[in-house]
């Protein structure tokens, strides 16, 4: 056992943010079902205590679909166990988290191929084979 392990720190958990966010997700799901309206909850502005974000992530769980995006660093796009509720985490080239969102939608916009990229791809394929 190292000396650091000997320090008997047992931080008491504070999880005041989890319930309000889950409530917001419930309302957002109603909006998606009733009006096909997408909601994005930016988790960056909330004062999470140690471990609180993990509790939120664990509560939502991992669903059937997860995707990894490589653009300006990696991004994880994970559907939670609740269909329509997506956990999105953007990282930069140093693997630092630069954005964390809950997106309540059918398919997060960032997963769709983008028109500008499709056009650029068409040009580059054409240059090689036409």
């Amino acid at each position: 056992m190292t000396s650091i392990d000997n320090i008997g720190v047992q931080v008491q958990a504070v999880h005041g943010n989890v319930r309000p966010i889950l409530n917001e997700v419930l309302h957002a799901l109603d909006k998606l079902i009733d009006n096909n309206e997408t909601t994005i909850i930016d988790l960056a502005g909330l004062p999470f205590g140690p471990g609180e974000l993990d509790v939120l992530e664990e509560t939502l769980g991992k669903g059937e679909l997860s995707a990894q995006l490589d653009a300006l660093g990696s991004s994880r796009i994970q559907e939670t166990t609740y269909p329509g509720v997506w956990w999105i985490e953007h990282r930069n080239a140093h693997d630092e988290v630069v954005g964390r969102y809950l997106e309540i939608t059918r398919i997060p916009e960032i997963l769709s191929s983008q028109d500008a990229d499709i056009c650029a791809g068409r040009v580059s394929l054409g240059e090689q084979f036409e």
Partner: protein, 351 residues
Amino acid sequence: MKNKPTVGEILQAKGVSRRGFLKYCATTASLLALPPAMIPRIAKAIESARRPSVIWLSFQECTGCTESLTRSAAPTVEGLIFDAISLDYHHTLQAASGDQAEAARHAAMEENEGGYLVLVDGSIPMGNPGFSTIAGISNYDMLMETVAGAAAVVSIGTCAAFGGIPGANPNPTGAVSVGDLVKDKPIINVPGCPPIPMVMTAVLTQFLTFGQLPEVDKYGRPLAFFGQTIHDRCYRRPFYEQGKFANTFDDEGAKAGWCLYKLGCKGPTTYNACATVKWNQGTSFPIESGHPCLGCSEPDFWDKGGFYEPLSTGNFGSGAKVAGAAAAGVALGAVAAVAGRRRQAKYTKEA
């Protein structure tokens, strides 16, 4: 300015895909505390924005502010902002020195007359111009000459914003802040010792994206980051409300992560974003590591009594008020969430 490439063109030339760009805009919205609904507007604005010219002046400082900002070597999402601005003069970072460097500064000033940003770190010694010079030019002369044609000035760090450590008692160099000298230009103060890098980039991003400077408080600090105290957004706040305090750094309260008020925490009187933006790759902030907030983004933080003296000892003016406020406590999550939403609602209305 007209011939400069747009930010969209710069990103395209770097091979950034549209998805990458959307990701960049999403993190920019987050950085500026804007609602995600603003992302399309941000995308449109950033695409067509032309890179602004920036002149960075370093006076009586420790280079900690520049260090805080430029640690990253590989391209990062927020680092792109620095590719998107044209940093025309920064005597710590640029290769040129002496006359050559000064020529670059003059060229940037002439070419971008009325449209460039001046960033300053460090305070200005008024006791004797010889205390701090660059290429034989006193800090005062360089500042006044450079800001004359600027669109705005951003004071980076507590020294430039408030005088900071050089200005601390007995202030041997007669150090003053930028705002003490520059009276006819908009000044944005981004204090902190050092300031949070993301807050520095956010101010530049806002200027780049919307061509405007952020809303500020009475000390000229951007409200998006300095609108609330550390205490307002501290995850230990519930312990404060319950009267559970650490009394020493190794007692049971400290080990349990209770409130650090009695150990001198200046969170209740300090406006900054450390509790949410955090430090070291978003790992934590001082209170999360068990140390009280020093209040480094407040004017005269160095001279406000002992760092480990509780606010209620009276050195800080508002201590008694703060101690009394505990009785009327409100749940942390609710306060933070409501304040955040209120700010977002305001921008949505303007969008």
